[in-house]
């Protein structure tokens, strides 16, 4: 294990039973407690800051397939103005988006595209099922329609309605903001960021300027 790699922060949900820092039995308990305390303090503040930053700057990718697009436009436009909640910025590349809004009916022929779009989004990413068709298939109980987008990709927030009113969309967005704000991140000692090939000079520089967290964890 080379020395120049940094520890990563991961959302808590992805790591079941993550080992705490300083789990060595020979460590003096008081010191371990101090370390855990400080790291916990760090984790909490960092999580809060990350959550606050993320929830107020959601870049959305509108996957608009059907008539719900009208209500999406309405929610975007001046009267309802989703920009008040920081989600006014549609990115038409999934690689730059945080929130995938599935606006409309998903039929079977579209599922490979939808799955590919979701896979192209970078972490952290969230998904909103906009309208009853994206949530459960709606009244399209037929050979061509997927019975809810969550049969294919995980969905965070379901906004019902056919189509949903913009108030419902904003409500769903605020629920998602709460979810983002309440996410907890945990400092990991075991897991490290993927190895990036650097030249020798960059490695030295990196070792010289280790991050605060890296020093804290003794990595």
């Amino acid at each position: 294990m080379s020395d120049h790699r940094l520890p990563v922060l991961k959302p808590e949900g992805n790591v079941p039973e993550s080992p705490r820092i300083g789990g060595d039995e020979n460590t003096i308990p008081v010191l371990a407690t101090r370390l855990e305390e400080s790291i916990g303090f760090f984790e909490k503040n960092l999580s809060d800051a990350l959550g606050w930053a993320r929830k107020n700057s959601i870049f959305q990718y509108p996957f608009v397939t059907a008539c719900c697009g009208m209500e999406y436009m309405s929610a975007m436009a001046g009267r309802y103005d989703i920009a008040r909640f920081g989600a006014e910025f549609p990115r038409f590349s999934p690689r730059q988006a945080d929130l995938l809004m599935i606006v409309g009916t998903i039929n079977v022929k579209q599922t490979p595209v939808l799955k590919r779009v979701y896979d192209q989004m970078t972490e952290p990413k969230w998904v909103m099922a906009f309208g009853v068709c994206a949530s459960s298939g709606g009244f399209y109980d037929n050979y061509a329609t997927v019975q809810g987008a969550d049969r294919v990709i995980p969905v965070d927030v379901y906004v019902p309605g056919c189509p949903p009113r913009p108030e419902q969309v904003l409500d769903g967005l605020k629920i998602l903001q709460d979810k983002i704000q309440n996410q907890r991140h945990r400092a990991m000692s075991k897991e490290v960021a993927p190895d990036v090939r650097l030249d020798v000079a960059a490695q030295r520089r990196l070792q010289k300027n280790r991050s605060f967290l890296g020093k804290l964890l003794g990595k």
Binding site: K115, Q147, G148
Partner: protein, 220 residues
């Protein structure tokens, strides 16, 4: 008004017309399959009729229609076909294809209908007469499995190429699903069926023969 159209067709092709029907300006003439291209070519090119616009080609599957329509009981079951075919006698000829023609200059329309038996679901293509017939015939082939002989490119137009069967045929199971990517199965009564054992069975991407000619790396 345009009973005259039916009379004209009867006069020109006395042996081709099987039956005709006229009700409040809605004229239908049923012709034999052998004479279809001939009749439609005449209707298109003759200055009296001048039916230059092909508005639609529709397919119809009767199955057991003439006796009785059923519904509710079949919907509750995933496996049962839409119509209980055991109890109801089938109708022959089972299918018909309907050509909806319109004249922009004369403002009259005529429907030409061809009846098809279920053991020989073939119709001569009229793509040589109407260019728009290309996609309409692909559509009828996609939904009903009617084979249009002489069509330049008779492939599916709406459904994906892996799809098995013809979804608007009345013996296609109502709740059958053929997913392209593996789907989660929810034991949910409110939603429609997923890819469970009663639905589409195993997800198509894993077992189905329909994927043989498709590059698997393009999905999932």
């Amino acid at each position: 008004m345009s009973q005259a159209l039916i009379d004209l067709v009867r006069e020109k092709f006395p042996e081709a017309v099987v039956s005709s029907h006229s009700h409040r300006g809605d004229e239908v003439v049923t012709v034999k399959r052998e004479n279809l291209v001939e009749v439609i070519g005449f209707l298109r090119n003759d200055p009296q009729t001048d039916l230059k616009l092909l508005r639609q080609i529709a397919g119809v599957d009767l199955l057991t229609y003439k006796t009785e329509m059923t519904g509710g009981a079949a919907l509750a079951s995933i496996e049962a076909p839409a119509y209980e075919m055991q109890r109801k006698p089938r109708v022959e000829p089972r299918y018909y294809v309907s050509y909806n023609l319109y004249s922009i200059t004369k403002h009259h329309s005529l429907r030409v209908r061809v009846e098809l038996r279920s053991d020989d679901v073939k119709v001569p293509s009229i793509t040589s007469l109407y260019r728009t017939a290309d996609w309409w015939e692909r559509y009828v082939y996609d939904m009903f499995g009617v084979e249009f002989t002489g069509h330049p490119n008779l492939t599916r137009i709406l459904m994906y190429p892996e799809f098995q069967g013809f979804p608007l045929r009345k013996d296609y199971p109502v709740r059958k699903r053929q997913p392209l990517v593996p789907e989660l199965d929810f034991p949910d009564l409110v939603r429609g069926p997923g890819p469970g054992p009663g639905g589409a069975g195993v997800p198509m991407s894993q077992t189905h023969v329909g994927r043989q000619n498709v590059d698997p790396s393009t999905y999932d």
